[in-house]
Subunit: 273 residues, 2 copies
Amino acid sequence: MSQRTVFFISDGTGITAETFGNAILAQFETNFRHVRLPFTDSVDKAHQAVREINHAGIVDGNKSIVFTTLVDMEVLKVITDNCHGMVLDMFSTFVHPLESELNLKSSHRIGRFTDASKSSAYQSRIEAINFSLAHDDGQSNTDLEHSDIILVGVSRSGKTPTSLYLAMQYGLKASNYPLIPDDFERQQLPPALKAHKSKLFGLTIQPERLSEIRNERRPNSKYASLENCRMEVSEAEAMMRRSGIRWLSTTTKSIEEISTTILQEIRPERLAY
Amino acid sequence: MSQRTVFFISDGTGITAETFGNAILAQFETNFRHVRLPFTDSVDKAHQAVREINHAGIVDGNKSIVFTTLVDMEVLKVITDNCHGMVLDMFSTFVHPLESELNLKSSHRIGRFTDASKSSAYQSRIEAINFSLAHDDGQSNTDLEHSDIILVGVSRSGKTPTSLYLAMQYGLKASNYPLIPDDFERQQLPPALKAHKSKLFGLTIQPERLSEIRNERRPNSKYASLENCRMEVSEAEAMMRRSGIRWLSTTTKSIEEISTTILQEIRPERLAY
């Protein structure tokens, strides 16, 4: 079977190049061999990259696709002048027209996160990750008022990965709090949450899917049984409705889709990105 | 002060549009007001977006910048035909030349994670996040052999956020394991790790920075004292050298840079992305 190789070349981590390149490639019903060439920050490394690209083209019998976010024009020139691949230059393509429109020169600064450890946006992301971990699954009521968002829902409804995503991607302090049978008996939100109603967001899930997920963890338990999942989900949804908090079903949604929807609803004041 | 607004418009979450747009905008020493318009998936919503863009342009006295990843050409046409902003179309710009080169039509499928909950790559990402959480800070030795990567280092050297990033971004099962005074006394890696040496990667950090970080958590403790941090870091580095495991210093690096470097060294067999 004929093959084609796609290269992601960057002066920095190449994560932006790859995220974006993957989104573009997902538009085609075909597979590519992926090669990452991060930290390509010298003319020497660029020549090495050219050799790899041209070699792959010969072996594959197909031109390689080369996504680059190189900001060093000297390094980029080595690639564009010498490689036989198809170069998709994500930097210049958009930066040059923006320079005209903004009437500003671009800084040609490498990497979204250069000197990251010193930037306050980066520090607040790391703080948010630590905060979200410490406030996972109702572990701590301390500092709950410093949360930007508090997710509630039954066990395994998607709260933990969503909290971590909100922290990592947006630098938001996202706590999460389980709704458990005690709460259903009292027919009340957990007492610790009452003071923070504007920050609450509920996650629910189809009982059938919940039962599948719980069965992977604790096979054949009452906890995982469809009957119990039905009861918990129905109680949790009734409680969210009664309390007037916003909620959504995670059943067919990715953590990216869940997070984006939450941000549209909650619009936290503090958004690092 | 004059202002300029930047819009991120997508049929999906808009996260790709925003990540990439931010990387481009970071090249300019100026601030923008950010507006996200995710889930713009109908002609009606497109007209609403046009009104917002044109209104912002009038209020700001500056053309808005509009990054789009719209894949629905009908929706995109409403934007390009009617808005007075500068449209940077990240989809067509690269997809059209790729269609020619690949001799394939693109699927115009929305979103990198459409039907995510059903895709095996997405499932393995969520599994990896759960695995990494369960194996944070040496919490569990069970299943350690299923790790793709095991990070080791002293407390607060950056292991936890890096593990979670590796799981979330790459779907890798990343455990992490602390090196503690007991290990230094024995002058041996923790016994549970010995069978997994090829998966180990060490993180170290400047003692001064470590002391700062630990002082935020436990001010004026022996744990956070510069003297103790110096001792732990020097013992940990000696142990990593002796054991022949690869390592790097996280002091001035972001979790993205740390992760990219680790992947270049470890090259795990299984990479979801």
